[in-house]
């Protein structure tokens, strides 16, 4: 029940803030804040219920489960369940929900009711994706979060918003259609071998299929996740969408929506198609390593603050892909860590970009210079998150990248060596970002207000989490999938042990 509540609170909160704004302008943001606040408290409560504050339950250890009939004709049920990995992603999503409401507080002036409606519904869709264990329901949420995000970019975005929003929608929806066909193919394969028509994750886990069929079906899933994650040839929607979105949109896109792709790889691709995933892993890892380097190099070439940060996402998520497909305890822990740390640090960089844009009305780094003297607090935060992004030890990203490389080196030392090069490239882009924006003389004569209390609270809490992740990463690592039983038939066995 609590799992369904996690989704419906956001849905109801979204509707309420839309309606409330018509009667009482200004009420929408308070309602939205209250909604994501309740959501966050609930998520933390769930965490404390299931484990201590310093630990998270493991992947495949189901904490809570809800199941109800939905469309019996197709064996579709409203089936939600939460294990460690879902829990940590839900906590991340709820936290970034608060951040995104906070950073829109003054930025969004027009049509605030509809804005918060879309924001909360996007978050609701993402939470649904993290909790759904029925493939139809998963697809339903997967598509559902696109429409409000499309509106967020298309209505409140920057100059080139229409192009960016349509591109985002078409990439995400189009790739999703391939996944739908793959889901149906999988379901009917299962139906033919067992006579049971079902979309349930656990039932479909051990479907027998011929290797070539398995590969084709897996590719259908892979393309959808590859677009979202993004994996390199499918990333081209990302720089536009991230750059043109309003700050809250960028935070949710980078922090949450990209994670749905990586989560899909982790939850569905490998467990449902173990053979094909093993067979396909070298290709995926090469794509991941390419993404790591390519994103970093392109980031360096950008002059637009947000575009630079957007390309760093391509680079960072490349690590997550590498970690997932290397599939050993270190790399998986690293991949999960990378997902969480990236969500926080990149989210913070987008918040900083949003603050700069709100005050200077530009994102062009050539027009910034010497902002340190004008807004020292913001600049200090900028430096902090830039070095977090480059992977300085003591921060979350370092743990993630290090573990992925460690795990990867046992699988493919060549790829690990290639990916390590990024530690040079990321230093270059991160320091270039700091130098171009904050260092030097204030030649443009900027006179800007430094951080307000609300902004400080947001950024300091994000900095604290980044440090916590870097200094005590064990809870997150516990949540990563366990590879003890070689390949992920574990998900089933765990389920049987813990739930029945």
């Amino acid at each position: 029940m609590i799992l369904a509540a996690l989704i419906f609170i956001l849905v109801a909160g979204g509707l309420l803030s839309w309606i409330a704004d018509r009667w009482h302008p200004g009420a929408a943001k308070w309602l939205a804040l209250a909604t994501v606040g309740i959501e966050f408290v609930l998520a933390i409560w769930l965490w404390l219920q299931s484990a201590s504050a310093m630990a998270l339950p493991a992947h495949g250890r189901w904490l809570a489960e809800t199941r109800a009939e939905w469309i019996p004709r197709f064996g579709v049920s409203f089936h939600l369940a939460m294990d460690g990995i879902s829990l940590i992603l839900v906590v991340l999503t709820a936290f970034l929900g608060i951040v995104s409401v906070a950073c829109s507080w003054t930025e969004i002036q027009k049509r605030t009711g509809f804005f918060y409606f879309n924001l909360l519904w996007t978050v609701a869709g993402a939470i649904g994706v993290f909790l759904a264990l029925d493939l139809f329901l998963f697809f339903f949420f997967w598509e559902l979060m696109l429409v409000p995000m499309y509106f967020l970019i298309g209505i409140w975005g920057h100059e080139n918003r229409q192009y960016a929003s349509i591109k985002f929608f078409i990439f995400a929806q189009g790739s999703g259609m391939f996944m739908l066909v793959a889901i149906l193919a999988l379901v009917f394969l299962h139906y033919r071998s067992t006579g049971v028509l079902t979309f349930d994750y656990f039932e479909l886990l051990n479907t027998t299929m011929s290797p070539s069929t398995e590969l084709w079906i897996m590719l259908g899933f892979f393309i959808a996740f590859a677009v979202k994650t993004p994996i390199v040839p499918f990333h081209i929607w990302l720089p536009d969408a991230h750059t043109e979105a309003p700050t809250a949109g960028s935070v949710i896109l980078a922090g949450v929506l990209l994670k749905t792709g990586a989560y899909g790889l982790l939850r569905f691709i490998v467990p449902l198609f173990p053979e094909a995933a093993t067979y396909f892993a070298p290709v995926a890892m090469v794509l991941g390593a390419t993404g790591v380097l390519y994103g970093a190099f392109l980031a360096f070439a950008q002059t637009d603050f947000k575009r630079l940060v957007a390309y760093t996402s391509v680079s960072h998520l490349g690590f997550a892909v590498l970690g997932i497909f290397a599939w050993n305890p270190w790399s998986l822990g690293g991949a999960v860590m990378q997902m969480i740390a990236h969500g926080i640090s990149t989210g913070a960089l987008f918040v900083i970009a949003g603050i700069l844009q709100e005050r200077t009305h530009t994102r062009d780094m050539r027009r910034f210079e010497g902002l340190w003297s004008v807004m020292p607090r913001l600049a200090a935060m900028g430096l902090f998150f830039a070095i977090a992004a480059l992977g300085l030890p003591g921060m979350g990203n370092f743990v993630g990248e290090f573990l992925v490389l460690m795990g990867l080196s046992s699988t493919s030392s060549v790829l690990a060596a290639v990916a390590t090069v990024v530690f040079v490239a990321s230093v270059v882009y991160a320091l270039a970002l700091v130098q171009k924006t904050f260092h030097g003389e204030n030649t443009h004569g900027w006179q800007l207000r430094d951080l307000s209390g609300r902004e400080m609270a947001t950024l300091y809490s994000m900095a604290a989490i980044t440090l916590w992740l870097g200094l005590y990463p064990q809870p997150v690592l516990n949540a990563a999938p366990n590879t003890a039983n070689s390949l992920p038939s574990i998900a089933v066995t765990r389920h049987e042990i813990n739930v029945e």
């Binding site: 009939e69 939905w70 469309i71 019996p72 004709r73 197709f74 027009k110 049509r111 139809f136 697809f139 339903f140 949420f141 598509e143 559902l144 696109l146 429409v147 499309y150 509106f151 298309g154 209505i155 229409q162 929003s165 349509i166 929608f169 078409i170 929806q173 189009g174 259609m177 391939f178 739908l180 066909v181 149906l184 193919a185 009917f188």
Partner: protein, 504 residues
């Protein structure tokens, strides 16, 4: 046969036929009423009452073992479901027509007679099990339709569209008749079931005559359904016809035709012919791709919706080609979704248009001589007419197959049927087609949500007509239905499972 038993069976026949009889009776009552008391409001009310009665009679206990009523008609669950759909769609169109054609000030009573007759034609089509009733239903429907299209008879666009439709209808009926004649020439029967049993016999297969006949029938129906090589007329007629009538053509006319075609294929065993199913899958692929690609080039909402409806029929064919229980359900669900969506979309266009007014001299004047169908008419609509724009957005998202709408479940159903029957090429075409389709649906949505544009807003304000209460209520009901059945489709699916039983 004893006379008591005979009259008993006649009684049951009439009872079974009551939905159609009531439609015909309503047409006559409305005609008489209009002849003696020429006021549109009571006439419209009578029409609505007739439609409601007809729907109510669908639920009468059938009390018969076989749904077959004479050799011509069969009123099984399948037919009853589609008659219900057609009559309800006609109800919605009737409500939309009233204000559009001038309300109580104008003399447009004849419109309602034509609508009732067209609905009767559609009902006969979906219930027909014989070539004769097939042709009769088709002609009742077509003849009413071209009068409806050209109803504002002093305005250029509708007249042009009416003539185009007239020529097309004549042409396709000719093809159909010739096709029927050829099938009859080989098999010597015009009853679907008998054709089916003959073909199911060990040595029974369509020879050249029959095959050519079947091909001609498919062609004739293809014209009506606007499948791709036969689609040229659609955008012009859709654009020219008055908006509520366009909604009627897009839904009732196409839906009845498709339901009939599916019945023919299943009952008369036409799906056993490899060449015909191959041709149909090619047609499906071409329809999806061409419809979606051409829609990209349009700037007129009615034309975009016309091409979109072509593409939607292509999607339907993908499910159609599976030819099993699931196919019937998929087609029926998708058609229901398509009815709701198209009625809603054209309903919004209707509500935004001035419509045609019958002035004192019996001439119809459109204030603007056309509907509000240019893309520019919709600029920033969300910011001054949020509910209307919201309904339109929901309809467009449903056409695009996004969750929370019926369109999503419909597309899911169709894909399920297609994947289950391993129709990979049409399924891939469907996927590619729906990706292309996003461009033009999003284009309309983007225009509606575009902020600013103060200049355009003033231009629109001049054209704004306030919708009547009935119109608003209808659109709201359609939108709610769209979302309700998009989230909880189980009940409708239960009904459809029953509808599929009789056919297979």
């Amino acid at each position: 046969m004893p006379s008591a038993l005979h009259s008993d069976s006649l009684h049951f026949d009439l009872l079974a036929l009551s939905p159609l009889i009531l439609l015909a009776a309503a047409a006559i009552v409305v005609m008489l009423a209009a002849a003696f008391y020429r006021h549109p409001r009571p006439v419209m009310m009578l029409t609505l009452a007739g439609l409601v009665l007809s729907v109510a009679s669908l639920f009468l206990p059938q009390g018969r073992a076989s749904p077959q009523v004479t050799a011509l008609l069969i009123l099984d669950h399948y037919a009853l479901f589609f008659i219900g759909l057609i009559v309800v769609a006609t109800f919605v169109v009737t409500v939309l027509c009233y204000r559009y054609f001038g309300g109580d000030e104008s003399r447009h009573e004849a419109l309602y007679i034509l609508l009732l007759l067209a609905a009767l034609g559609g009902g006969v089509l979906v219930a027909s099990s014989h070539f004769a009733s097939f042709l009769l239903g088709l002609e009742i429907l077509s003849i009413s339709l071209f009068a409806l299209i050209a109803y504002p008879r002093f305005t250029e666009h509708p007249l042009e569209a009416g003539i185009k439709y007239l020529i097309l209808a004549g042409f396709s009926s000719g093809l159909l008749l010739f096709g029927m004649a050829l099938v009859y020439a080989q098999l010597g029967t015009m009853q679907f079931v008998k054709i089916g049993t003959m073909l199911a016999a060990p040595d029974g297969a369509l020879e050249l005559y029959g095959l050519a006949g079947l091909a001609l029938i498919v062609t004739g129906v293809g014209f009506k359904l606007a499948l791709v090589p036969f689609h040229m007329w659609t955008p012009d007629v859709y654009e020219g016809a008055p908006a509520p009538i366009t909604a009627f053509i897009a839904t009732v006319s196409k839906g009845a035709m498709l339901a009939l075609l599916l019945r023919y294929f299943l009952m008369a065993g036409a799906y056993q012919s490899q060449s015909i199913t191959l041709a149909l899958s090619l047609i499906a692929v071409a329809t999806i791709l061409v419809g979606n690609l051409l829609a990209l080039l349009q700037d007129n909402i009615k034309r975009i919706l016309a091409y979109s409806s072509i593409a939607q029929l292509g999607y339907l064919l993908v499910g159609f080609l599976a030819f099993d229980r699931l196919a019937i359900e998929a087609v029926a669900y998708f058609l229901t979704a398509y009815f709701v969506t198209m009625l809603g979309a054209f309903g919004v266009v209707t509500v935004l248009s001035d419509g045609f007014n019958d002035g004192s001299g019996g001439e119809f004047h459109g204030a603007a001589e056309r509907d509000s169908d240019r893309l520019a008419d919709y600029a920033g609509l969300f910011w001054h007419r949020p509910w209307l724009a919201g309904v339109f957005t929901a309809m467009l998202l449903s056409l695009a197959g996004i969750p929370l709408t019926m369109g999503f479940i419909g597309k899911f159903y169709i894909l399920t049927a297609g994947v289950e029957a391993s129709l990979w090429i049409p399924v891939i075409a469907l996927v590619v087609g729906s990706i292309i389709a996003l461009f033009y649906y999003l284009r309309i949505i983007t225009v509606m949500y575009a902020p600013g544009l103060e200049a355009t807003r003033e231009a629109i304000m001049l054209r704004v007509v306030s919708p009547s209460f009935a119109e608003s209520a209808t659109l709201a009901a359609l939108a709610l239905l769209l979302i309700w059945l998009g989230i909880f489709p189980a009940q409708l699916i239960g009904v459809l499972e029953g509808a599929g039983v009789d056919l297979t």
